[in-house]
Subunit: 328 residues, 2 copies
């Protein structure tokens, strides 16, 4: 395989070369220090050309129809809005072999064959912190490559939503109509992140239930306080299968972006996100240094047992561990 | 002022000596290293006698009637349940001079004069991390002093709820009946922490509105997934002013404790909380070391600006800062 220079990578990405984009993302996802160093140089080179996109997060429990929705929604924004779409994923639990989230491009057949769409499965392994960082850096490369709509998929079962929420402009929650227990499986707090809730699978025969769900969620959202920008989360229905309600979802995204851009909240939020990720990265590095310290590992285990059994206070244990850490 | 030895402190606290308890808490709250060291010794000495209490968190926006409720509830558990009560507070924004949360014992007049109640205002200053740690260590001393009901008050406006939630067995949210916007001012996510919601000020003339609020909240809570232990948050009304509904709140607490104790969730949760606070303390100490490093401060500011303006990636900035930190 030909070895490309950093500059060749940067130029290729800016030209929309998908092969070079993919290989650069692989460098981002690699754990090897020399790959990491090269990846960082490529990111630095792409940064001046990044930022000009609408970044969307999308979540929902398995079975809600995320792939079908993304296929339908993606085709709409490309064909009807003339946009270029990149689809990424954050799912630390996934692996390609298990065939989970975005693991199988064939589930988005039309989209994956569209030259204006770029689909990248989630990295195969790693901690949430690592996967989230990779994805965030991948956004930069995709934007530099001209994708002006970034869609980041995640599963509605854990902290990955918080990570995705912290890297997007707009957060969409896909739900199903059902009897009372619609939120089953959705982790507490996720509903409160949503800028819009879409009741999916509002197919023929299921529309009444979907409409009831809409009014239930509107009532529930009503109980939450308004967001800083004054945006009230929208609830709507869609049938990705029948291609219905898709334009309406885009209209909500569009309205949200215009609303927040006009008031300066879009830029403000992105700057806050940058500082958030700087601090997250600092935490990550500090934790790597501390928890990765092999000499500390057995001490840490012992202190854990001691605090659980009430033999030492958490604070004193932490202070003693830190003393050992800083001495090393 | 007489100087007491560590052993005198420990023995006095175990004997229920309130003066020594108060002075030991003052040592916990002190920033002076020699006070801290002594405080840690006292805590170590008290740990074997701690743990045997029901720990309750209570929150709600200013105006919801927290002080009156605590007064009423506290008198009930002391007189009718024969318990001993300690009331603590976590409110990093408060200060005694501003007369905020628990700043004025006169707001709980009967309770503060009751020999079976111990009321401790929130520490006057400090970061949330510092205040939370002080409060958590104060729980240990209060338990060793024989208080078997610990009530930790906080205000419903920020991260302090998460901190309190992580140190209690049971979390109570006080609300007011109102037209649709009951959650106004309550930070997103707090409702989902509640093991019970009490609509306070269900006084004569306000009972219908309170009953409507109960059914609204029951509906909203219904949309949330069940907790691990299978406990479904209870919604009830109370009039602290008229001393109504107070027994019912205690019955809920009692049922919750029995439910969770029987299933082993109470002990499991406490062990998880201990490890949580060990890791929190480690984070706190790591952050103190990093963000307190004077040589790094100006570098950090510069990197913040750079990531905001997109001149460097968050990750690269963090790595460079860490390199500087570890070299020092």
């Amino acid at each position: 395989m030909k070895k490309y220079s950093t500059q060749e990578f940067i130029d290729g990405i800016k030209d929309g070369n998908r092969m070079l984009l993919s290989r650069a993302i692989t460098l981002i996802e690699s754990a090897k220090p020399e790959h990491q160093d090269k990846a960082q140089e490529i990111i630095e080179g792409c940064l001046p050309f990044a930022g000009n996109s609408i970044r969307m997060g999308i979540t929902g429990v398995p079975g809600v129809g995320k792939s079908t929705f993304i296929e339908s929604f993606g085709n709409y924004v490309i064909k009807e809005q003339g946009r270029k779409l990149a689809v990424l994923a954050v799912d630390p639990s996934s692996s390609r072999t298990k065939g989970s989230i975005l693991g199988d491009k064939t589930r988005m057949e039309t989209l994956s064959n569209n030259p204006d769409a770029y689909i990248r499965p989630t990295p195969t392994a790693g901690s949430l912190g690592g996967v989230a960082r990779s994805t965030r850096e991948t956004i930069t490369l995709c934007e530099a490559a001209g994708y002006n709509t970034i869609l980041i998929e995640t599963v509605g079962v854990g902290q990955s939503e918080t990570a995705v929420h912290s890297m997007v402009d707009f957060f969409l929650l896909l739900m199903l109509a059902g009897a009372g227990d619609e939120l089953q499986g959705i982790k507490r707090g996720i509903m409160e992140m949503a800028d819009s809730i879409v009741i999916n699978k509002a197919d023929a025969g299921n529309q009444d239930a979907a409409k009831r769900a809409v009014s239930e969620y509107k009532n529930a959202l009503h109980l939450f306080p308004p967001t800083e920008s004054g945006w009230i989360p929208r609830v709507t229905t869609a049938s990705a299968l029948e291609n219905k309600g898709i334009k309406e979802v885009w209209d909500i995204v569009d309205e949200f972006i215009r609303h927040n851009r006009a008031k300066g909240y879009l830029e403000k939020k992105r700057k806050e996100q940058s500082v958030y990720w700087l601090n997250e990265s600092i935490q990550y590095e500090l934790n790597q240094a501390f928890y990765g310290d092999k000499n500390l590992a057995s001490k840490l285990d012992q202190y854990k047992k001691d605090v659980q059994e009430g033999r030492i206070s958490s604070y004193k244990a932490a202070r003693e561990l830190l003393r050992l850490f800083r001495k090393a």
